[in-house]
Amino acid sequence: MSLSGKDKTVVKNFWAKVAPKTAEIGGEALGRMLTAYPQTKTYFAHWSDLSPSSAQVKKHGATIMAAIGDAVSKIDDLTGSLSALSELHAFKLRVDPANFRILAHNLILCMGMFFPADFTPEVHLSVDKFLQNLALALSEKYR
């Protein structure tokens, strides 16, 4: 399910729209993931507060979204641009790649919540594909 030219345009246009809210979306998505999918908390046992209002959660959510935003700008070569992050997730963090899907779902949910009019089914489709490709690029170095 590779990204068509149309998908890339849709994702870039949508990202431009949501730019002012990306940090908030990221923090909210991460908080929701940890609450609605408690198994994901296992990766953050070193944090003192895993609630949606936690400063640690909000900050890390923003970090994740910034990285995703960077990936949007390098959408033509996700594997190359995510190489270092892939190594990090593969060898240091060792996050089971199934979790990328869970986070993607929560990101999409938050995008729909914050931008209900803009997050049409067509935009949802392209963003879903993009996040799937991103997850694939992030899993590249695992084995």
Partner: protein
């Protein structure tokens, strides 16, 4: 047996009391057919599903979306017996409709996204978690009769 906290029960019942089944059903089901186009395989008799516009305006999609919501309501009305409630529907989806059960959560995802967009701030992370748990129980019950 599934154990529901008072908060979870109230949250689920609250969601279903607030949403319009026709609107949410149509939105969630059409979104599923658009975002995960392979799910269209089960709806060959629904007429024009050629593109997003066709799916969104398709009357059979709309009415079936409502049917799905009404079926979910059955679970909401008897949360202690969801497995029993869906025994027949599970057999139907397995034997007659032959739906790959992995598709159930795809629809679940779309429903969650539509509900979140509708309820906005009221769909707090805690309410979201309760809804997620509810959908997981529903999906598990629908999978029960597959062999």
């Amino acid at each position: 047996m599934v154990v529901w906290t008072d908060f979870e029960r109230t949250a689920i019942q609250d969601i279903f009391s607030k949403i319009d089944y026709a609107v949410v059903g149509q939105a969630a089901f059409s979104r599923c057919l658009i975002v995960y186009p392979w799910t269209q395989r089960y709806f060959g008799g629904f007429g024009n599903l050629y593109n997003a516009a066709a799916i969104t305006s398709n009357p059979r999609v709309a009415s079936h979306g409502k049917v799905i919501m009404e079926a979910l309501e059955k679970a909401v009305k008897d949360m202690n017996n969801i497995k029993a409630t869906y025994a027949e529907l599970s057999a139907l989806h397995s034997e007659k409709l032959q739906v790959d059960p992995d598709n159930f959560m795809l629809l679940g995802h779309c429903l969650t996204i539509v509900v979140a967009s509708q309820l906005s701030k009221a769909f707090t992370p805690e309410v979201h978690a309760a809804f997620q748990k509810f959908l997981a129980v529903v999906v598990s019950s629908l999978r029960k009769q597959y062999y």
